[in-house]
Symmetry: none
Subunit: 469 residues, 2 copies
Amino acid sequence: VVRSNPVAETWASASVDLHLDLAGSRKREALERALRDAVRTGRLGPGLQLPSSRALASDLGIARNTVADAYGQLIAEGWLTARQGAGTRVADRSSAVEAAATPAPQASRPQYDLRAGSPDTAIFPRSAWLAATRRALTAAPAEALGYTDPQGRPELRQALAGYLARARGVQLTPDRIVICSGFTQGLGLICQVLRRRGAKTLAMEVYGQPRHGDIAAAAGLSTTTVPVDGHGAMIDKLADADAVLLTPAHQFPLGVVLGPQRRSRVAAWADATNGLVIEDDYDGEFRYDRQPVGAVQSLAPERVAYAGTVSKALAPGLRLGWLALPAALVGDVVAVKILTDRITSSLDQLTLAEFINSGHYDRQVRRSRLAYRRRRDRLVDALSRHTPWVRIIGIAAGLHLLLELPDSQAEHDIITRAARHGLALEGLGSYQRALSTYPPALVIGYGTPHEHAFTGAVERLTAVLARSA
Amino acid sequence: VVRSNPVAETWASASVDLHLDLAGSRKREALERALRDAVRTGRLGPGLQLPSSRALASDLGIARNTVADAYGQLIAEGWLTARQGAGTRVADRSSAVEAAATPAPQASRPQYDLRAGSPDTAIFPRSAWLAATRRALTAAPAEALGYTDPQGRPELRQALAGYLARARGVQLTPDRIVICSGFTQGLGLICQVLRRRGAKTLAMEVYGQPRHGDIAAAAGLSTTTVPVDGHGAMIDKLADADAVLLTPAHQFPLGVVLGPQRRSRVAAWADATNGLVIEDDYDGEFRYDRQPVGAVQSLAPERVAYAGTVSKALAPGLRLGWLALPAALVGDVVAVKILTDRITSSLDQLTLAEFINSGHYDRQVRRSRLAYRRRRDRLVDALSRHTPWVRIIGIAAGLHLLLELPDSQAEHDIITRAARHGLALEGLGSYQRALSTYPPALVIGYGTPHEHAFTGAVERLTAVLARSA
């Protein structure tokens, strides 16, 4: 099945054994994809020097500009780096991408883990969830267990409409909701619909989850980046993207909030350009210092696709998420959903509806908000006492914070040292989508450890930071 | 919980009767929240003019800036509008919210349904499934609820490896299995991997689920068709496709079995052309006249992607399926899975593992096999007594059979007449992918009705057929 076409055998000069298949008319896209895949899968390792665009063009029998453009795009996306005199190389971040995409072997799990992205799954309310499952299974009509509505069970869409309006100020009716299997699927569905409608470019915040760029690319969209400052994404730099993916309530991973003017401006941008805003409200329920800012969606419900999940408040393993969509998108998103997996587990949907309607969801949000808030306070306190030279960036919210390091320190050194001491850390660089001048920093996921391991993890962190000073 | 405090009674000038509770230290947040709630619930209607910040501040006994800031935030969020000379008003959009929760009218369901594709979801073993959920939730390590292995939980892959080897003769180890959300997702993952590897064409049996062709097309593959005769797909007509999708154990919807020579031939074709066989074993456990024929996969494990689900034996709404893959495909399929939905619900996976390991899966297969076999016997008996001129095609297996009609009859006429009598039927034409000379026929899904409705459905069918003669 694998039709590798050894067109690039002459890469020996660069010590690269890369097989590229550039059949088809879109050479540049094909080359970009092949290089991305090769970096992702590790066939091209970090630091490896690539052939010059002239040499590769000659090897592949395509125009030099095509290669140069592809290199440029991949540099912009952070896969490759170019430095004066050093040629084009595979960026270091690829190892992080690879690590994220490859299931970690059970044995090598670190003693402590302060990487971001996961809640403490030990506080998942197992017995309340089981009780909701029992009620859902008892009450479910038989047809709910069949090929039921691909848009999502009406019980859950009704429950979510109430919850999202109340908790996040989302303007919606149940018929605007599409239930999906986590944000990964939700973003993929929207990207595919955008592509089918002729969109070409998705703008993304310059720092964010690398996987989200991969999802857009898999759907055939190219990506550009928007800079982020202390007021969130710089909307006036959006240029002519067809859509933009934002984390307005709590920028991931920088932790800042999209400012009021920029909220209005992005709604105006969408109106003026007929663009779509994808609002990733991944942790909107977790703000500790004040009432969270409402969803941007409420400013322009026909221009914003709002997305949320249970992954932070309950557990990522449940794979339950939702989109609140502009009316004009609902039909197309459902059509793509049908070809993706037809429906999201209906029993899980009914259980979540029960869980929300019985008040357990709000209770669990409050309980875990309190737990994470305490952890953040303890972490901030420990850092300010032991390592006052690191700067804590971002609002008091969510399950992570950003630790800005002195310019003299390298993320990589600290991460390596921490790993030697049984503590898994991540640098801001792992989330960088394009060149950016942000100082070195660590993204600390204080939600990740189990409660009993939290104190140890914080002690390990401050010890490693103190030794790096 | 709502503590209304009539502190704003003097809003008479704005015709507003608004109760705000500003107890506590965070006046601004409390004010924002109260105003948002009031707009959302309609207590403050669209267009209503709010008091000036000075007037409201004086009424509430708080700083004017606090009110001005709160107004500013709510204007940014789109709840309020401010226009020169017109003061601050409730934005119009709120009316859209109120057009809310009108549940869509239930599509009128036919009295009887003999369309194929769904099992009788009323025989889903709810209490055994709930018990397995309890055991799974109790035993699950916390990490299972997080972003666990995208290939699937090891517990489930282990359980399935044993089951599939035993029940279907599949040759596999747990590391060859990828858990997916139903066959829809499994087929989509494989098609995307094929496309990324440069494949262009997927061959499909000339009769089959139309959606499967849509899935291939969405992944960028073009499709060709293979004719089907009494011995299944005509393998020597496969030509130069890159891959072929087959239903070897029980052709859907014709109901025939792929003959022994053709099983060998398709393995040889895959070897000779470096092609991939996708084996859709959608109802392989349901054969009534003899031991079912084993999976084609066992002839060529490195050339066949074997796919199965719980949709027939348990319920489609669970969305649990599996792929047993050639070693060379596993990594790529998992990489696409990560970008599709990362993982299939881990709690559902653990529950299914418990369900299989405790013997409940086998028990449920036996129980439903007996139930469907009895239905098929009753249906065949009724047809041979009342409408001997229709010919029953296909082996005694699965949840459907094919009724070949006399050439003089049109599928469409019978389907229309049945619909007028409250019976939903489908013609073979709905499953036809290309021109074919097969006679008119009906695809009868005897698994679809609930038990209590089955007798009525069969009577209705024979009556409609008798009137059509």
